[in-house]
C-alpha cells in the first residue's frame, strides 16, 4: 500500500486546482449535458459513466469555492 491511497480525492482535486491556478491554466471543462431522463436499463453502464463525470464536475466546482 502506498501513501497516495490515503489522500482524499477532495484534496487531490484541490491541489490540482491550486497548481493550475498558479500556472494560469483553466482546469474547468465544459461537460456535455446528456439527456439521461429517458433512461432505459440497457444503457445503465453508459449513464453511470456520464453521471460519474457530472459528479466530478460538482466536486471540482465545490473545491474551487473552498479556495475563495
Amino acid at each position: 500500500q502506498t501513501t497516495t491511497t490515503s489522500v482524499p480525492q477532495n484534496d487531490v482535486d484541490f491541489l490540482m486546482q491550486q497548481v493550475a491556478d498558479e500556472a494560469g491554466i483553466e482546469l474547468n471543462m465544459e461537460l456535455p449535458q446528456g439527456n439521461t431522463s429517458t433512461l432505459a436499463p440497457s444503457v445503465a453502464v453508459g449513464a453511470s459513466t456520464q453521471a460519474s463525470t457530472e459528479q466530478d464536475e460538482l466536486t471540482q466546482r465545490l473545491a474551487r469555492l473552498r479556495q475563495m
Binding site: 477532495n10 436499463p41 445503465a44 453511470s48 453521471a51 460538482l58 465545490l62 469555492l65 473552498r66
Partner: protein
Amino acid sequence: MWNLTGKGSSSDIFNRQQQCHIKAYGLVSRALKLDEQNLKDKSLVIDLYSEGIKELESGISIQIEGIGESYEKAKRLQEKMRTTLQMARDRLIILKGVSDLHNLPLAD
C-alpha cells in the same frame, strides 16, 4: 422518496441511483451557479444545497451488491456521490455561518 431498503431488480437499482444523481446534479449545479456569483442573499443557495444533499443521501443509501461492470460502475458512482455529499455539506456549513453573521443586528 425511494424505499431505502435497497431491494429490487438490478435495473431498478441502477435506475433509482440514476434518478437520485439526476436530481442531485440539477440541484447542486443550480446552487453552485448562484454560489459562484457570490450573491449577498444566500438563502436560495442554502435551500438548493440542502435539497441536493437529500438526493445524494438517498442515492448513497441504495445498496449495490452484485458482480459485473454495471455494479462496478454503480459502486464508483456511489463513491463519487459520497465525495460530493461531503463537500456540499462542508459548503453548507460555511454558507450558514456567513448567513448567520449577516443576520446579526450588529453585522451591518
